[in-house]
Every structure is written in structure tokens, then in C-alpha cells.
């Protein structure tokens, strides 16, 4: 007896006035992705010692462009997508209308935040890179714009919680549909994780940038940033996992393996994503090595739910491949729908993520971290996580979701398939280059084409970075053209009428421990307790803040 992961299998559509802000939020995301890769190309070529910055007359420096790349691709792209995608999944799963004013306010804040950030970055008043490390001091509009983006995510979360509660009241004793559970948990995790960065921006950086707070504590700033900063990578990743777990099985004609395991995995992410931030500060002074070791162990812990994900997703794929006539140990792989642009993007995303995960474990090993910290190894690593596991998945989702939201059929299917291959081949070459040169000590965040020092050992890796980066750039451009063309000229009435929701092999249990997985408040409290254990000793021994730094605008 298969169990659908949505409440109503006959279909449910949000009214058009709610689909519109969702669509627009998602458009902002894909626009940000595309805008960000132009300087991405310049960065990759700079590492190959080819300087094309002269073709960006609007830019005052490499670092202004790098700020734009990081903010647009890592922050705006991902959260704009999630702000649309997760509420949409929750509403569809529960057959509940969203709260219109929250939806629209969330969208308006997202747009307004973007305007402020673009203003600050474009006028070269915020070349601080997306990490915003004090005592580099940006114009207040930059910090305030990012705060508005975060508030827009809170509103998206609140919206989902409202309809979650409404559904539970209307359906006492029922298990929440799986798709709603994992979508909501993803943003509950982010809601908790975003509090430290809110404290950083509202409590310190904004007052400091407008002169109310004369000096800032740089170490406290870094710590608050990474307190949110590791969990933020899971906030980027979990929406991709939602697609892999809950939608991909249907797209390949398979089933989801286990209802409980899937819920359990997302609960583990809620618990373990946040208390791991010191793994970004292994080489920082002022933080005891004991605390760093504790975070290292927890970081290895948060690898576990990803292992479970690898198993479950692969099993669903195998079921689908066999159903489609695949046989033998690996014959099912060939039978997967490799011609479906949405599927192919996500299969390739999963493959690159294997390398992203392995390099991530190496980063987490603090002894090895001293070899790779802040070398190009790091961007090599994360272009295979957020830069492809997430980016390619969100592109793959676009290939069905844009037609679903606009009602227009996808145009240029062949081009769409090609875009993912181009990007994947590109990112693998790119990462090979960055990783090998990083092991030779090539630093990240460097305008290499104009650097006053170099090493011959970096030349091969740098060249591969340039070649791979160029292919990645072409891949995303093709993606953008396909999507833009679809939005403008796709044939009306050819979009899918429902999302590709899957079924699980067995219905969720109504008794025993499993229903407890749906208790949001309980798990949030446990998450907070873990965070207090992991960060409490640091703050207890470190505070009060060591306010020593005035602001610097040295760009």
C-alpha cells in the first residue's frame, strides 16, 4: 500500500494571486544567479592569469565584483528560491492556501533588500565580501538590505507554520504529509540558525556603521557570523534534499524508500546543523582548542544524515531504473530518464556532491584544515556543494517548476539537457584546478592576475580553473536563455498541472515513536539545548565583547 506524500492526490492549486509572488521570488533568484556568474567568470580567468576586469567598466575593483558574486549566488539566489519553493511545497502538500499578506510582505522585503544591497555594492560602498567581516565597514544600506532579506525568510517560515497549524487542527490524529514535514523543518532549522546573524547585524554592525557604536569586536563578529554560517549551508542544501527525496523518485518512476527515515534525517539536520560553526574558525585565535574539537566531532555527526540521504535517494533511483526496464547490477543507471532536463541536472548534482562531501570531511578534520584553510581548495570544495549540488538542483527544479508556475511549456529541451552537462564538466575541471593548486598553497580571495607574488606550482591549477569556469559560465547562460525563453514564449497550456510528488513504500506509523518526529516545538527545544552546550562555554568565558576596532573602508 503506497502512501502519497501529499494530502490530496487529486491535485491542489494555489490561487493566482498567491502564485504570482512565489513566481516573482523565484525569478529574483534565477536573475541573481545569472548576474553573479559574470564576475565568476572574471575570477576564474584571473586565477588563470587572464585579466578581463577591464571589460567591467562599472567595477572599481576585483573585490567589489567578488562581493557581488558571493552575495548574488550564495545568498540571494538560494534564499529567493527557497522563499518561493518551500511555501509552495508546504501549501501543495497540505492543500492549504497561504496567508496572502505574509506572502506579499515577504516578497516586498526580499525585493527591497535586494535594492539596498545592489545600491551599496554597485556604488562601491560595501566591498566587504559576502562574509561581511568587521572591521571592514560597509555602508549601512548593505547590512540593512541583508537584514530585510533575512526577515523575508522569517515571513516565509511564519507563513508555513500558520498553515501547518491550521492543517493539524483540521485533521486531528493524522500524520502531517511528508512533503510538508521536510519543507517546514528545513526552514525551522534556518529560522533558529539565523538568530545569531540577526544579533550580529542588528546589534553590532548596523549601529557601528551609522556611528552609534564607536568600536567593534572582530572576533565576536566572526563567531556570530559562523554561528549562523555553517547552518546556512544546510539552509541552502535542504531545499535541494527536499527535491531529491520527495520529487525525484516520481520523476524517475521510483518510490520513496522510507517515510520515517526521511523525517528522521531532516530532524537530525535540525539538531546538528547549528552547533558546528567553529569548524570555520579552526585557525582563529581566541577560541579554545577544546571547543574546536567538540565542533569537529559534531561536524562528523552531521555527515551522517547525508549518508542516509545518499542511500535513500540511490534506492529510489534504482527502483525507478528497474521499473523502466533496467537490469543487472548497474544496468538501471542507463535506464534512468537521462533525456529529462530536470532529472539530468539533479543526477549530475548528486554525482558532484559526492566529491563535495568528501572534501568537506577533509575540511572538518582540523589537522588537515591547517593545510587547506583559505587556499583555493575551499572554493574548489564549495563549488561542488552549494555551487553544484544546490545550484544544479535548483536549475533542474526550474525545468519543471517554471512551466508549472507559468503554465507555459519548456522550450529548448535539448539545450536544457546540454546546459547541465556543460556546467558539470566545467565544475569538475574547475574544482580539480582549485583543489590541486590549493594544496600547493594558492590563496583564495586573491586578484591573482595582478598579484605581486606567485608560484609556478599554481599555474596548472589556475589554468584548469579558467577553463572549467568558462564552461560553467556557458552552462548557466544556456540555462538562463532556456528559462527566459520559456517565460516569454513557451506555449500556453503546456505546463504540468501538478508538482511531481512521490509515494512512499509504506504509510507512516500512527503509533509508537514515529509520530513524535512531527513535533516541531519539541525538536526545536532540543536543537537550542545542543546549541547552548556547543556555544555556551565560549560565550561564558569570552564575554563581554572586546571592542577594539574602528571601521575601515580600504577599497
Amino acid at each position: 500500500m503506497y502512501q502519497p506524500i501529499v494530502f490530496d492526490t487529486a491535485g491542489y492549486r494555489l490561487p493566482e494571486n498567491q502564485r504570482k509572488p512565489i513566481r516573482w521570488a523565484i525569478y529574483i533568484g534565477y536573475l541573481a544567479l545569472t548576474a553573479g556568474i559574470f564576475h565568476g567568470l572574471a575570477q576564474a580567468l584571473s586565477y588563470a592569469n587572464i585579466d578581463i576586469l577591464a571589460y567591467f567598466p562599472a567595477l572599481k575593483s576585483y573585490y567589489q565584483g567578488l562581493t557581488a558574486h558571493g552575495v548574488a549566488n550564495a545568498l540571494i539566489f538560494t534564499f529567493s528560491f527557497s522563499n518561493g519553493f518551500l511555501p509552495l511545497m508546504t501549501a501543495r502538500a497540505l492543500s492549504q492556501k497561504l496567508v496572502s499578506w505574509m506572502l506579499w510582505t515577504s516578497f516586498v522585503l526580499l525585493a527591497l533588500g535586494n535594492v539596498l544591497v545592489i545600491y551599496a555594492v554597485a556604488t562601491n560602498q560595501a566591498s566587504v565580501l559576502y562574509t561581511s567581516y568587521a572591521p571592514l565597514q560597509a555602508h549601512w544600506t548593505y547590512y540593512f538590505g541583508l537584514v530585510l532579506v533575512v526577515v523575508s525568510t522569517w515571513l516565509a517560515l511564519a507563513n508555513m507554520l500558520v498553515i501547518w497549524n491550521r492543517w493539524r487542527k483540521e485533521n486531528p490524529g493524522e500524520r502531517v504529509p511528508l512533503l510538508a514535514h521536510i519543507s517546514v523543518i528545513s526552514y525551522v532549522m534556518w529560522g533558529l540558525a539565523s538568530l545569531p546573524i540577526a544579533v550580529l547585524f542588528l546589534g553590532f554592525l548596523i549601529p557601528w556603521s551609522i556611528g552609534w557604536l564607536p568600536k567593534m569586536d572582530p572576533l565576536l563578529g566572526r563567531t556570530l557570523f559562523w554561528f549562523t554560517g555553517h547552518a546556512i549551508v544546510y539552509a541552502w542544501l535542504l531545499p535541494a534534499y527536499v527535491s531529491w527525496y520527495a520529487l525525484i523518485p516520481r520523476q524517475v518512476e521510483g518510490k520513496m524508500v522510507s517515510d520515517s527515515l526521511t523525517r528522521f534525517v531532516f530532524v537530525l539536520f535540525l539538531l546538528l546543523s547549528i552547533p558546528t560553526g567553529f569548524h570555520h574558525q579552526y585557525t582563529d585565535p581566541g577560541i579554545s582548542t577544546t571547543m574546536k574539537a567538540i565542533h569537529a566531532v559534531l561536524t562528523f555527526g552531521v555527515f551522517f544524515p547525508s549518508l542516509a540521504t545518499a542511500f535513500s535517494v540511490m534506492a529510489s533511483l534504482e527502483m525507478g531504473g528497474r521499473r523502466r526496464g533496467g537490469s543487472g547490477l548497474l544496468g538501471w543507471i542507463r535506464k534512468l530518464p537521462w533525456g529529462d532536463p530536470s532529472v539530468v541536472a539533479q543526477l549530475l548534482a548528486m554525482i558532484t556532491f559526492v566529491f563535495g562531501g568528501i572534501t568537506g570531511l577533509i575540511n572538518a578534520s582540523f589537522t588537515m584544515n591547517q593545510v587547506v584553510h583559505n587556499t583555493t581548495w575551499i572554493p574548489g570544495h564549495f563549488h561542488m556543494t552549494v555551487g553544484s549540488a544546490v545550484a544544479l538542483t535548483l536549475m533542474g527544479v526550474a525545468y519543471w517548476m517554471i512551466p508549472y508556475l507559468t503554465g507555459r511549456g519548456l522550450v529548448g529541451k535539448g539545450w536544457a539537457v546540454a546546459s547541465s552537462w556543460l556546467y558539470t564538466v566545467g565544475v569538475l575541471i574547475f574544482a580539480r584546478g582549485m583543489i590541486s593548486a590549493g594544496l600547493e598553497g594558492m590563496p583564495r580571495r586573491i586578484y591573482r592576475a595582478q598579484a605581486t607574488y606567485t608560484r609556478e606550482a599554481w599555474d596548472l591549477g589556475g589554468a584548469l580553473t579558467g577553463i572549467g569556469g568558462t564552461l560553467m559560465f556557458i552552462g548557466i547562460l544556456v540555462f538562463f536563455i532556456v528559462i527566459a525563453w520559456t517565460v516569454v514564449a513557451g506555449r500556453k497550456g503546456e505546463g504540468p498541472s501538478d508538482i511531481p510528488w512521490s509515494e512512499t513504500l509504506r504509510p507512516p506509523a500512527k503509533t509508537g515513536w514515529e509520530p513524535r518526529l512531527d513535533r516541531l516545538v519539541f525538536w526545536s527545544v532540543v536543537a537550542v539545548v545542543l546549541v547552548v552546550i556547543a556555544y555556551g562555554p565560549f560565550f561564558a568565558t569570552y564575554l563581554p565583547p572586546n571592542f577594539v576596532s574602528p571601521g575601515f573602508t580600504v577599497w
Binding site: 567581516y133 566572526r222 569537529a296 534506492a315
Partner: protein, 155 residues
């Protein structure tokens, strides 16, 4: 075999692998003595040039074969820009920043630390072979970031 058996086997194997990695990590840090920088004191960046040890940046021998290199990172240079030690020297780097964040990576070694205004960074490494290592500032520190470097020369 049904899928749950495979699943348990896969997850157990994964769990064992993660634990093995942690054991290797513990071995490397305890038995092999590979340490991270930790808490090494605070300093006020505005007055530090008048206080030991940052009133006198440079390298000196503290006991036979053991050296202390006091380094300041500032926009956009290391002070001193060059550190000379004999092969076999065990060098303890004591460093901080005068202004914004900087990095201090002695390329080819595991001296890799952040320089944070207000905090003292400290780590030790033995340079066994003669040769030259770049000291790279690997944290963004403004428009001159790609011009900020120094050298360790092992004689």
C-alpha cells in the same frame, strides 16, 4: 535481502568510517602533536606598538634551536617582511593585526592562522629543510590584498 537490511549495513559502515576518521584525527592531534591555534591572549591594536612583544617585531632565538617570530599584519604588508632562521629551527609565530583581518599562511607548512585585531595568534613549526616559503595573507583585507606577502628563508 530486503532494503532495510541493506540500509542498516550501509549506515553502520558509514558510521564506522566516521568513527575511524575521528580516531585518526585524535591520533594526529594527540600523538603527533599537530595543534591548532587556541587562546593566546588579547591585545589592543591601537596601543600594541608600545607593548611587548609587538613593540619589537622580528625573529629571535629564545633558547638553543628555538625561535620566536613576532609578526604584525597590517595594510598591506607583514612586519617584518622577511624572517631568516637556520634549518632545524623550531619557530613559534606570535602574531596579530594592526587594523583589519589578515591571514598568515607560511606556504608549504601548517602555520596557517587568522590574524584578528584584538587577539594574539600563536603556533609552532619546525623548519627542517633549507628553502624559501612565502608568507601569504590569505584573508581579504582591502584592495591591496593581493600584494601582501612576506618570506621565511630557511638557511
Amino acid at each position: 535481502m530486503n532494503i532495510e537490511t541493506y540500509e542498516k549495513a550501509f549506515l553502520s559502515l558509514g558510521g564506522v568510517l566516521l568513527v575511524a576518521c575521528l580516531v585518526a584525527l585524535a591520533y594526529a592531534s594527540i600523538a603527533m602533536g599537530i595543534h591548532l591555534p587556541g587562546r593566546a591572549g588579547e591585545v589592543d591594536p591601537l596601543t600594541m606598538r608600545a607593548q611587548a612583544p609587538f613593540d619589537n617585531p622580528g625573529v629571535r632565538e629564545t633558547s638553543p634551536g628555538q625561535y620566536e617570530a613576532v609578526v604584525i599584519g597590517q595594510l598591506w604588508a607583514f612586519v617584518p617582511a622577511e624572517i631568516r632562521v637556520p634549518a632545524g629551527a623550531e619557530v613559534t609565530f606570535v602574531a596579530t593585526s594592526n587594523d583589519v583581518l589578515h591571514g598568515l599562511h607560511v606556504e608549504g607548512t601548517r602555520i596557517n592562522m587568522m590574524l584578528v585585531p584584538g587577539q594574539i595568534s600563536r603556533n609552532t613549526y619546525t623548519f627542517k629543510e633549507p628553502g624559501e616559503h612565502l608568507i601569504i595573507c590569505h584573508e581579504y583585507c582591502g584592495v591591496g590584498h593581493h600584494t601582501m606577502y612576506g618570506k621565511v628563508i630557511v638557511e
